[in-house]
C-alpha cells in the first residue's frame, strides 16, 4: 500500500512539474506550432536552452573575426578557378576572390582557409555554417536563391554552358549527339539544362552522371561518353589537364546562361553587403585604373572624390560595412583589381586563357558595372 502510494506520488509530482512548464513553446518566426504529441514533449522543449534563431545581422562577421580567418568553400579540381597544386597551394579566380574578402576584413590576404567542397555538398556546407562564403563557380538561379537558403552575391563571371567532344569524332553540333552518351556532373544546373536543351532539340541521348569533376572528365577521357558538358570556362580549364588538349574541341554552342559568382547564406545582411561590395571594389578598381602597383601613389595623389572615398581617404565607407576604412585599399593592394585577378588566372599568358567577352567593363561593352559608393 505504501509502495503504490509512493509510486503514484512520484508520478504525480513529475507530471505537475512538467505541466507547470507547459505552454511556453517557442514558435520560430511566428508560425503556430501544432503539437499533436503528449504533454511530456511540449513541455521539455522550452525548458532546454531554446535555440532561438539569432537576429542574424553581424553574426557572421563577428564569428569570422573571432576565429581569425575566413573559411572559404572552393573547387579543387578546376584549374584557373579553383585548383590545388601538388604543393598544397590553392590558386584560381574564385580563390582570389576569397583572398580579396579576407584582405577586406583582416587586412591580410593570407588569413583564409580553403575547403574543397563538391558540387553536391556545397549548399549544405554553406547552410550549416561550415563555410562562411562559397566561391566555387556557382550558377545563380531563382530556384537556388530561394530553395537552397543561399544569397547570391553579384556575378563575377558571366559564362554559358557548352559541350566538348573529341575532334576525331567529327561532331559539330548538338544534333550530332543523337543516340549518344553525355557525361555530366550531378548536383549542378548543367544536369538540368542538358535535359532541357536536348529535349527541346528532340535529340535522344543517355546521360552518364558522376559525383565530381574528376570522375566526369576521367570517364570522358576513357571514352565512356561521346561528349562532356559543363560551363564553358570549366571546359577550357579541364581541357588543359587532359592527356592531349589539342584532341578535344569545344562546340560553338551556348546552351544556357551561367552567371557565376560567390554565395553567402540567408539571414545575415551585413555579411551579404560585405561580400557584395568586395566584388564591386574589384570592378571599381579596374574602372578607375587602380592596380596593386599604383594604389599607394593613387591614394596620396588622387583628386576625384569617388576614388578618394573608395580608398578611404575621405568619408567612412568601410565603417558602414563594419570593416576598417581601408578595406578597398587592402583589396586592391594585396590582391589587385578585377583585371589583374583575371589576367593572373585566366589571362593570355595562362594555359586556361578565356577571352574576356562579357566579363569586361561596361565602358568596353561588357557587363561589369560597379554602383557608386555614395
Amino acid at each position: 500500500m505504501r509502495k503504490t502510494f509512493a509510486i503514484l506520488a512520484v508520478l504525480v509530482v513529475f507530471s505537475l512539474a512538467l505541466a507547470a512548464c507547459a505552454g511556453a513553446s517557442t514558435a520560430p518566426y511566428g508560425e503556430t506550432v501544432t503539437v499533436k504529441e503528449t504533454v511530456v514533449v511540449t513541455v521539455v522543449a522550452p525548458a532546454a536552452p531554446a535555440v532561438v534563431a539569432p537576429a542574424g545581422y553581424g553574426v557572421t562577421l563577428e564569428t569570422v573575426k573571432a576565429r581569425g580567418n575566413l573559411i572559404c568553400g572552393v573547387n579543387a579540381q578546376v584549374p584557373g578557378f579553383g585548383y590545388v597544386g601538388a604543393d598544397g597551394n590553392y590558386s584560381g579566380f574564385d580563390v582570389d576572390y576569397c583572398r580579396a574578402l579576407a584582405a577586406a576584413i583582416f587586412g591580410d590576404a593570407t588569413k583564409v582557409e580553403f575547403r574543397p567542397v563538391t558540387a553536391a555538398e556545397r549548399f549544405t556546407a554553406l547552410q550549416s555554417g561550415e563555410i562562411d562564403v562559397l566561391s566555387r563557380n556557382t550558377t545563380w538561379s531563382l530556384v537556388r536563391d530561394t530553395e537552397l537558403g543561399a544569397n547570391f552575391v553579384h556575378t563575377t563571371f558571366y559564362d554559358g554552358q557548352g559541350m566538348m567532344v573529341p575532334t576525331a569524332s567529327g561532331i559539330t553540333s548538338l544534333e550530332g549527339l543523337e543516340g549518344g552518351t553525355v557525361c555530366v556532373q550531378t548536383g549542378t544546373t548543367t544536369e538540368l539544362n542538358l535535359a532541357d536543351v536536348m529535349a527541346s532539340l528532340g535529340v535522344s541521348y543517355t546521360p552518364a552522371v558522376y559525383e565530381d569533376a574528376d570522375s566526369t572528365f576521367a570517364a570522358y577521357a576513357e571514352g565512356r561518353c561521346d561528349a562532356v558538358t559543363t560551363d564553358k570556362s570549366g571546359l577550357v580549364s579541364r581541357r588543359t589537364v587532359l592527356a592531349d588538349p589539342a584532341a578535344h574541341v569545344i562546340l560553338d554552342v551556348t546552351m544556357s546562361k551561367e552567371p557565376l559568382g560567390p554565395v553567402v547564406r540567408h539571414g545575415d545582411d551585413q555579411w551579404f553587403d560585405i561580400a557584395q561590395w568586395t566584388v564591386f571594389a574589384l570592378f571599381a578598381g579596374e574602372e578607375f585604373d587602380i592596380t596593386s602597383a599604383n594604389v599607394d601613389s593613387v591614394k596620396t595623389s588622387a583628386t576625384a572624390p569617388e576614388v578618394k572615398r573608395w580608398l578611404g581617404v575621405e568619408g567612412d565607407l568601410g565603417l558602414k560595412l563594419g570593416l576598417g576604412n581601408d578595406w578597398a585599399y587592402n583589396i586592391l593592394k594585396l590582391v589587385g583589381n578585377y583585371e589583374e585577378v583575371y589576367n593572373r588566372n585566366l589571362g593570355p599568358e595562362t594555359p586556361t586563357y578565356i577571352p574576356r567577352g562579357y566579363n569586361s567593363q561596361y565602358t568596353d561593352g561588357g557587363l561589369l558595372y560597379a554602383p557608386p559608393a555614395r
Binding site: 535555440v51 534563431a53 539569432p54 564569428t63 574543397p116 555554417g129 561550415e130 570522375s215 577521357a221 587532359l242
Partner: protein, 398 residues
C-alpha cells in the same frame, strides 16, 4: 601359436607422385575434366596478371605519389612527428611480442622485420632512414621485453592505453605556426594515415558502446530493452553510406547554430555508431553462451548485478567471441573506405585526386590495384593473427 616373424606386414600403398596425382586430381572422369579446366584457368589468369603487372603497368604513378597515398596532404616537413609516433608503436609492439608471444617465432619475426622489408619498396631516402629507425626501435623493445617481462607488463599496457591519444596529439600538434609542433589542420590529414585513425577511433569507441547496447538489450527494464532493440535494428537495417551521409550533412544541423564540428569527427561518429550496433549483436551472442549457473554463483557470493557482470560474465563472454570481434574490427577497417564517398581524402579518396593529375590520367588499374593490395595484406594479416590468438587462448576448448 603364431610366430610373430611369420606374420606378414600389412600391405601399404606405395605413395609417390604419380599415385598422388591419380588419387587427388584424376580420380574420375569428372575430376579429370575439372582438373584440366582448372589448370587452364590458372594458366590464363596468372599469365595475364604477370604480363600486365610486369610489362604493361606503369607503376610510377604509385612511386611518385607515395607520400600522398600514405599521409595525404600532411606537410612533409612535419612528417617526422608521424614517424616518431610510429616508432613508439613499434617499440610497444616489440615489448608486447616479447612479453606475451614469446613462442610465436614466425609472427614475431615477420612483424619486427616488416619495416626493414619495406625499405626495398620505392620510397625516398628520408623514409628509408626512418624505416631503419623503426626496425631498431622494434628490436630494442623486444630486447627489453625479453629481459624483464614481469616488470614491464604494466607499463606496456599503460603504453597501449595512451598510444592512440599520443598518436593523435603528435599528428595534430599543439603549438602555433612557429612553435616546435605546429597544429596541422584535420583537412590535411589523408591517405593511409586517415584510414588508420578512423579505424582505431572507430574500434575504440564502438566497443564500450556496443557492450552497453548488448547489456541494454538483455535488460529486464522494458524501456531500456526496447530502446536498445530499436537502435540496433535501425542501424543494422540501413547501409553505412546513409549513416555517413547523415553524419556529414545532418549532424551540423543538430548542433546549435555557431557550433561546428570537424568533418573527420563526423565520419568517426558515423562509423562508431554503425559498428556499435553490430558489436552489440556479437556481444549478445557471447553473453547468451554463458550458462546461468555463473550468474547464480556470483549472486551466491554476494556480488550485485553490475559487479557480477563486470567481473564474472563479461570477461568470459568477451573471450568466447574474440574471433568474431576481430572479424568485426576487420570489417570496420574495410568500411572506412566509404568515407571517400562523402568527400574525405582517405586512401581511396586520395587515389581519385592522384588520378586527376595530368601526368597520370588513365592509370586507374595501377593505383587501385595497389590500394587493394594494401587492404588485402592488412586484412589478411589481422585475420591470421586472430586465428593464432584463437588457438593460443584455446577458445572453444575449455
Amino acid at each position: 601359436m603364431t610366430d610373430m616373424n611369420s606374420i606378414l606386414p600389412p600391405l601399404t600403398e606405395r605413395s609417390n607422385i604419380l599415385r598422388w596425382l591419380r588419387k587427388n586430381l584424376f580420380g574420375s572422369w569428372v575430376d579429370a575434366l575439372l582438373t584440366i579446366l582448372g589448370a587452364l584457368v590458372i594458366y590464363w589468369a596468372v599469365k595475364g596478371l604477370l604480363t600486365w603487372a610486369l610489362t604493361v603497368a606503369e607503376w610510377e604513378v604509385v612511386s611518385a605519389n607515395m607520400r600522398l597515398l600514405m599521409i595525404g596532404q600532411y606537410p612533409i616537413e612535419q612528417a617526422w612527428r608521424l614517424w616518431i609516433a610510429l616508432g613508439f608503436l613499434t617499440f610497444l609492439m616489440g615489448n608486447s611480442l616479447a612479453i606475451w608471444a614469446r613462442r610465436s617465432y614466425l609472427v614475431s619475426i615477420v612483424l619486427l622485420a616488416l619495416p626493414a622489408l619495406l625499405v626495398y619498396l620505392p620510397f625516398g631516402d628520408e623514409p628509408r632512414k626512418w624505416l631503419i629507425i623503426l626496425t631498431a626501435s622494434g628490436l630494442v623493445g623486444w630486447g627489453m621485453g625479453c629481459a624483464r617481462p614481469e616488470v614491464l607488463k604494466r607499463s606496456v599496457i599503460a603504453g597501449w592505453v595512451i598510444s592512440l591519444p599520443v598518436f593523435i596529439l603528435l599528428t595534430r600538434g599543439f603549438s602555433s605556426a612557429e612553435g616546435v609542433m605546429p597544429i596541422v589542420g584535420t583537412n590535411l590529414w589523408g591517405g593511409l594515415l586517415l584510414t588508420f585513425l578512423l579505424t582505431a577511433v572507430g574500434i575504440l569507441f564502438s566497443f564500450p558502446l556496443g557492450v552497453l547496447l548488448a547489456l541494454g538489450r538483455r535488460s529486464e527494464l522494458p524501456i531500456i530493452r526496447w530502446s536498445s532493440v530499436a537502435y540496433i535494428e535501425l542501424v543494422r537495417g540501413v547501409p553505412l553510406i546513409t549513416i555517413l551521409f547523415m553524419a556529414q550533412l545532418i549532424l551540423p544541423l543538430f548542433l546549435p547554430a555557431n557550433m561546428t564540428i570537424d568533418r573527420i569527427l563526423r565520419a568517426m561518429v558515423g562509423i562508431t555508431l554503425f559498428s556499435a550496433a553490430y558489436l552489440a549483436e556479437n556481444v549478445r551472442g557471447g553473453l547468451q553462451a554463458i550458462p546461468n549457473g555463473q550468474f547464480e554463483a556470483a549472486q551466491a557470493l554476494g556480488l550485485n548485478g553490475a559487479q557480477a557482470m563486470i567481473f564474472i560474465i563479461l570477461p568470459q563472454a568477451l573471450r568466447l567471441i574474440i574471433p568474431i570481434l576481430v572479424g568485426q574490427f576487420i570489417a570496420v577497417f574495410k568500411d572506412t573506405a566509404l568515407v571517400a564517398i562523402v568527400g574525405l581524402l582517405d586512401l581511396v579518396g586520395i587515389a581519385k585526386s592522384v588520378l586527376a593529375q595530368p601526368d597520370f590520367l588513365g592509370l586507374q588499374r595501377e593505383v587501385y590495384a595497389f590500394i587493394s593490395l594494401i587492404y588485402w595484406v592488412l586484412s589478411y594479416g589481422m585475420s591470421y593473427l586472430s586465428q593464432r590468438l584463437e588457438e593460443k587462448l584455446g577458445v572453444g576448448k575449455r
